[in-house]
Amino acid sequence: MAEAKELTEAWIIWIPTIIAFFVVISLIVIIISLAVQKDINIEKIQQPILRQRFLYSENCLAYKQDRVYPGIIDLAKFNEKRLQDCFNPNDKIGAQLVLKTDDYIKTANINPILADKFNFCFDEERFSCSNYTYYVLINNNSIIEPGLLDVALIKLK
């Protein structure tokens, strides 16, 4: 009985010591972690690289005859199925392309679940968005016409 009491008393003395020990160690680790934390943010380079695929790749929109013409869009290639094929992101990236000329406006959404969420771009903690307008030439059945291509990207962080 006395032995058990002594053991309990010893533990009662030691428990705060052990708790204090862990608290101090945790604090040291947290302070060091905060000091050395490095965040590699690639959004600003990743999105231009991805956007340019639409203009440069023959699998996307670039016009090809003997060679690829980056910056000239083949109008026949502007359809969602083809764009989904050449730009097949994971679930975290969506895109909306709008092709404008004086005569028509065409829109294509890639990964529509996210492409519908551009209204949420104000939430910079959860979404990373970018929008860029390219001045392009459009090959419409061998007729070249000027146009604008808006490429908007949205990425879930």
Binding site: A10, I32, I49, R53, S57, N59, N88, N90
Partner: protein, 131 residues
């Protein structure tokens, strides 16, 4: 003299010393890892390689790109992602690149040790080691 009490105290002191040693070893390992910046290096490497793969997808013409590497990692590239880890580690740092279904990436598990990684993009992308 209460010998039983002394034994209990001795046990508690021993337990405390062992606890200290364990925590000290873990702490030194943690500091060592920070010193070598392993996680940051891995994170940087996998994102850098991932961006290269994304950029190669956009290339309108054939291109060969050499990536000189000076750290030891294991690199795994598949149809969806690039992963980097130490051979002894289980956890992988991954980058999910944006695929082009018309382009295949041919690569397997590659050991990266002071070697040059060569990305050869023609119709498809072939990743191999040089050196």
């Amino acid at each position: 003299m209460n010998k039983k009490g002394l034994t209990t105290k001795q046990w508690l002191y021993t337990f405390y010393v062992v606890l200290n040693v364990i925590v000290l070893v873990l702490f030194i390992t943690y500091i060592n890892q920070l010193r070598e910046n392993q996680k940051v290096n891995q994170d940087f490497l996998v994102r850098d390689l991932g961006l290269i793969v994304d950029a190669l997808h956009a290339s309108p013409n054939p291109i060969i790109f050499s990536y000189v590497n000076s750290v030891s990692y294991q690199l795994k590239i598949d149809r969806e992602s690039i992963a980097v880890n130490k051979p002894t580690e289980v956890a992988l740092k991954k980058y999910f690149y944006t695929r082009d279904n018309n382009i295949n990436i041919n690569a397997n598990l590659l050991p990266l040790t002071n070697s040059t990684l060569v990305f050869d993009k023609n119709k498809n992308i072939l990743v191999s080691l040089y050196g």
